[in-house]
């Protein structure tokens, strides 16, 4: 036999496994088919199995197998479309074909051609398949029969207050374009609402199995006249009759509900008559099989880039549009341009939303690795854990998912290492031996909230203060005025964390500063709630997506920058007199906090001169973690939705800058990174650090 020599042994293996699977399925299903000819799903399944074998055998070059399955497929297609009724003849022929298929598969295993002649089998299958020829003439005479899923669809449409219409129309009997006209009608109707069923079906129309009449069940908000106008807009369409179907007329009597008991008769007489064609949810079932597609992440990123480009152009178009409209208020063409551009903007918005959706990945992709890890860790340390995860179906942008894995892992590890006590310690403390660790993800408005909660020993904030004092990270005055809730946050101070490992005082905090930085970088936040002896809860808040953020445009020393709105606490104008100095550093009072201020150009190293303060200074107060800092800028411009783009590997990490974006004039503006800016401000001025740590 002639088999494709390019196929590797592995590929043959895959082919055989797949074929075997499908044959087993067919073996079962074809027999069932005789009794369950109304089972739409079963018919679909059988059809798909044959279709799959046809495709894969064609690919490996097994011509006889693909020829045979092609004949089976054609017949099965007619059966699932109700162009043919199931009969014992048909079932016999299909089973016969299946046996031949098994023999052909054996050929592949033995690599030896059998003397099996498939020609008569194929001929018989074809003969049975063409028995439907007479059908189309009967289609019109025949009534549109609705399947259960159609009826379901109608019910749903009615609950949405949609109208249901039964539409009959046709083209002249000498028309050469019937199929095309009908397709146009369905398309027009598709724009107005939904085509629930039609005779001939969309598939039949596509295959040009039409005569000159078309019958459609349609749901939509449009009124009769609108529907009629739309249909009549198609060339060659003759008279259109539209019947408004009421709920009773559908579910009461006038439309026959399938499967009717007398509908399916498998005896031969009925068969010869080729029963009433039924319209059913073929298109639906078909599309369900094709509902998910695997896409290369690169393609997705590319799409995202293209959409980002559009988003940038969108701002540009809208700006130009506004200018033009203002200038030529009464010009019709300009007005039309305005409308068109509004429409395009709307579409781009939708496109953007949809692409964002496509990029969403359930958090289970990282959660799923945790149980094993937790189990191993707990075992190693002799701890007994009841680990539970909730909300793993919560979706997040792919890029966030990638970057949140390590911080979460770190928190989880900390919980098991330091948070949860050993069983004997727990018993002594009057707790159950089994410690509970609970990880939960959920969506809250525009954020994803991930909480990690344990019933371990909690964080000793008093000791945390003590250590920070000893290490000179805070002053005694700071410590005295610090509440327990504030003191917990000391865990995030870089200097503290590294020492934790050796002294193990509070038992927490290894690398917590890194966890916080990572989360900050994603535009998120982390908070801790702890009760000594009872347990600890970490609350991580993340944005749904990082690719597009709201930003505030500002200018400093002639350059435009963007500060993500998420980091902006507030903007204010500060009079010269309200600026005080502490240790030669400018600060302002903002309610109960003392906020250091500095010229942005100075932080960024664009100027070494001291910040020039004028009578009135524009200050943007940014928030980095718990810290507040004021940036003196030259001017505030608009807020804008901006697309975050990386600066690229060539430049590497640039301090104070998290990325760039393209403004509506095509120029590049840098996006400021609040947390690293705050760090840059602190550098060389420990006093400020203390001030900020307090507030």
């Amino acid at each position: 036999m002639k088999l494709n020599a390019d196929i590797s042994p592995e590929e043959w293996k895959v082919f055989l496994e797949e074929t075997e699977e499908q044959i087993v399925m067919l073996d079962n299903d074809i027999v069932r088919m005789e009794k369950e000819s109304d089972n739409v799903e079963l018919m679909q399944e059988i059809f798909r199995a044959a279709h799959t074998i046809k495709g894969s055998s064609g690919m490996v070059g097994h011509t006889r197998m693909s020829e045979l399955t092609h004949a089976m497929e054609t017949l099965l297609d007619k059966l699932r479309n109700r162009q043919l009724e199931v009969s014992s003849h048909i079932v016999n022929a299909l089973l016969f074909g299946l046996d031949a298929l098994k023999a052909l598969k054996q050929e592949v295993i033995s690599q030896e051609e059998s003397d099996l002649n498939i020609v008569p089998i194929v001929a018989r299958l074809k003969e049975l398949a063409t028995a439907e020829r007479g059908i189309t003439a009967e289609v019109v005479a025949g009534q549109l029969v609705l399947s259960p899923s159609n009826l379901q669809e109608i019910k749903e449409a009615l609950t949405h207050e949609y109208s249901i219409y039964k539409i009959k129309t046709g083209v002249p009997e000498d028309s050469a374009w019937a199929a095309i006209r009908f397709m146009q009608v369905l398309n027009e109707l598709g724009r107005l609402g939904k085509v629930i069923a039609s005779v001939p079906t969309a598939l039949e129309i596509e295959q040009e199995k039409v005569n000159f009449k078309l019958e459609v069940i349609f749901s939509g908000l449009a009124d009769v006249e609108m529907v009629r106008t739309e249909i009549k807009s198609v060339a060659e369409i003759q008279e259109v009759t539209i019947e408004h179907l009421t709920e009773e007329s559908i579910f009461g009597k006038s439309v026959k509900a399938a499967p009717g008991s007398e509908e399916h008769k498998t005896d031969e007489q009925n068969q010869a008559r080729t029963g009433t064609p039924k319209v059913h949810a073929l298109a639906n079932a078909d599309s369900q099989a094709l509902q998910s597609v695997r896409i290369d992440v690169k393609v997705l990123d590319n799409l995202m880039n293209i959409v980002e480009e559009l988003v940038i152009d969108r701002s540009r178009i809208s700006r130009v549009g506004k200018v033009l409209m203002a200038k030529y208020e009464n010009d019709d063409i300009i007005r039309e341009l305005g409308q068109t551009s509004n429409h395009i903007i709307k579409i781009i918005n939708e496109l953007q939303e949809n692409i964002m959706k496509v990029r969403m990945v359930p958090i289970s992709t990282i959660f799923s690795r945790f149980p094993r890890l937790v189990r191993d860790l707990a075992q190693k340390q002799g701890k007994k854990l009841d680990f539970n995860m909730y909300g793993s179906e919560t979706e997040l942008d792919r890029s966030i998912i990638e970057q949140i894995r390590d911080p979460l892992l770190h928190l989880l590890r900390n919980s098991i290492d330091h948070g949860v006590e050993a069983p004997d310690v727990r018993l002594k403390a009057g707790k159950t031996e089994l410690a509970s660790v609970r990880l939960e993800a959920r969506q809250e408005q525009g954020n994803i909230v991930i909480t990690l909660e344990d019933d371990g020993k909690g964080i000793d904030t008093a000791k945390l203060k003590e250590i920070s004092l000893k290490k000179g990270l805070i002053t005694p005055e700071n410590a005295a005025g610090m509440s327990a809730a504030d003191a917990v946050n000391l865990i995030f101070i870089p200097g503290l964390s590294t020492a934790e490992k050796t002294t193990d005082v509070s038992g927490r905090g290894v690398g917590m500063d890194i966890v916080r930085t990572n989360i900050d970088n994603l535009g998120g936040s982390i908070a801790i709630e702890t009760i000594l002896g009872k347990g600890t809860k970490f609350i991580v808040r993340l944005p749904l997506t990082v690719a597009i953020v709201q930003g505030l445009l500002i200018s400093s020393a002639g350059d435009t920058y963007i500060i993500p709105l998420a980091s902006v606490m507030e903007t204010l104008t500060v009079a010269r007199a309200d600026i005080k100095t502490i240790n030669q550093r400018e600060v302002i009072r903002l309610r109960d906090s003392i906020v250091p201020i500095i010229g942005l150009e100075k932080v960024l190293g664009r100027s070494t001169k001291p910040t020039r303060l004028s009578e009135h200074n524009l200050v943007v107060v940014i928030k980095a973690g718990e810290r507040l800092a004021g940036l003196v800028v030259d001017s505030l411009m608009e807020r804008q939705e901006i697309v975050v783009k990386p600066l690229g590997n060539y430049l590497g990490d640039v301090e104070g800058i998290s990325g760039a974006t393209i403004l509506s004039d095509g120029n590049v503006a840098l996006i400021l990174d609040a947390s690293s800016l705050a760090k840059m401000m602190v550098r060389g001025g420990q006093d400020i650090e203390h001030l900020m740590a307090v507030d």
Partner: protein, 180 residues
Amino acid sequence: MAQNNNAQGEMQLVVFDLASEFYGVDIGDVREIMRMQNVTRVPGTPAFMEGVINLRGKIVPVVDLRKRLELKVKAQTKESRIVVVDIGGKDVGVIVDGVTEVLRIPLGSVEPPSQMVANSDSGYLRGIAKLKDKLVILLDLSKVLATMGYESISGLKPEEFEIGNVIENVKNKMPVLAGV
């Protein structure tokens, strides 16, 4: 680096002009030649980093090649161009005084750098093409830009790089070339 050589032993170069010298880079490495446009400065980067530009929606870093090669700094003119090259899969723009032409030169006309300088640590010099009317310094831009570590250039000392001196050297040692 892509060698755009054909059967006759030729290579195709994009020739640009920088401080009155002609430099050539393999056409296979050149992505695009652009007119000067607004370059956004990036704080905290070396002086030769001119900034970043928008290349059809992508953020592309731009290096001032005069500064990078430690040649005399000159104001940009109408002739100034940004040559965007592919450096190990990343796009980087270099500012040059002007792009002269695209040339096809026989490989035979190229003097390899090893014959010109004894201690040739200058990997970025691929050689010098001796043509009828001019000399073209063949530059391996990927090396010029990579010498400063294109993974991340922050923290690099400018004095570590001295191609300007190297070229001077080459000319001094080869009176034939210097005389042209």
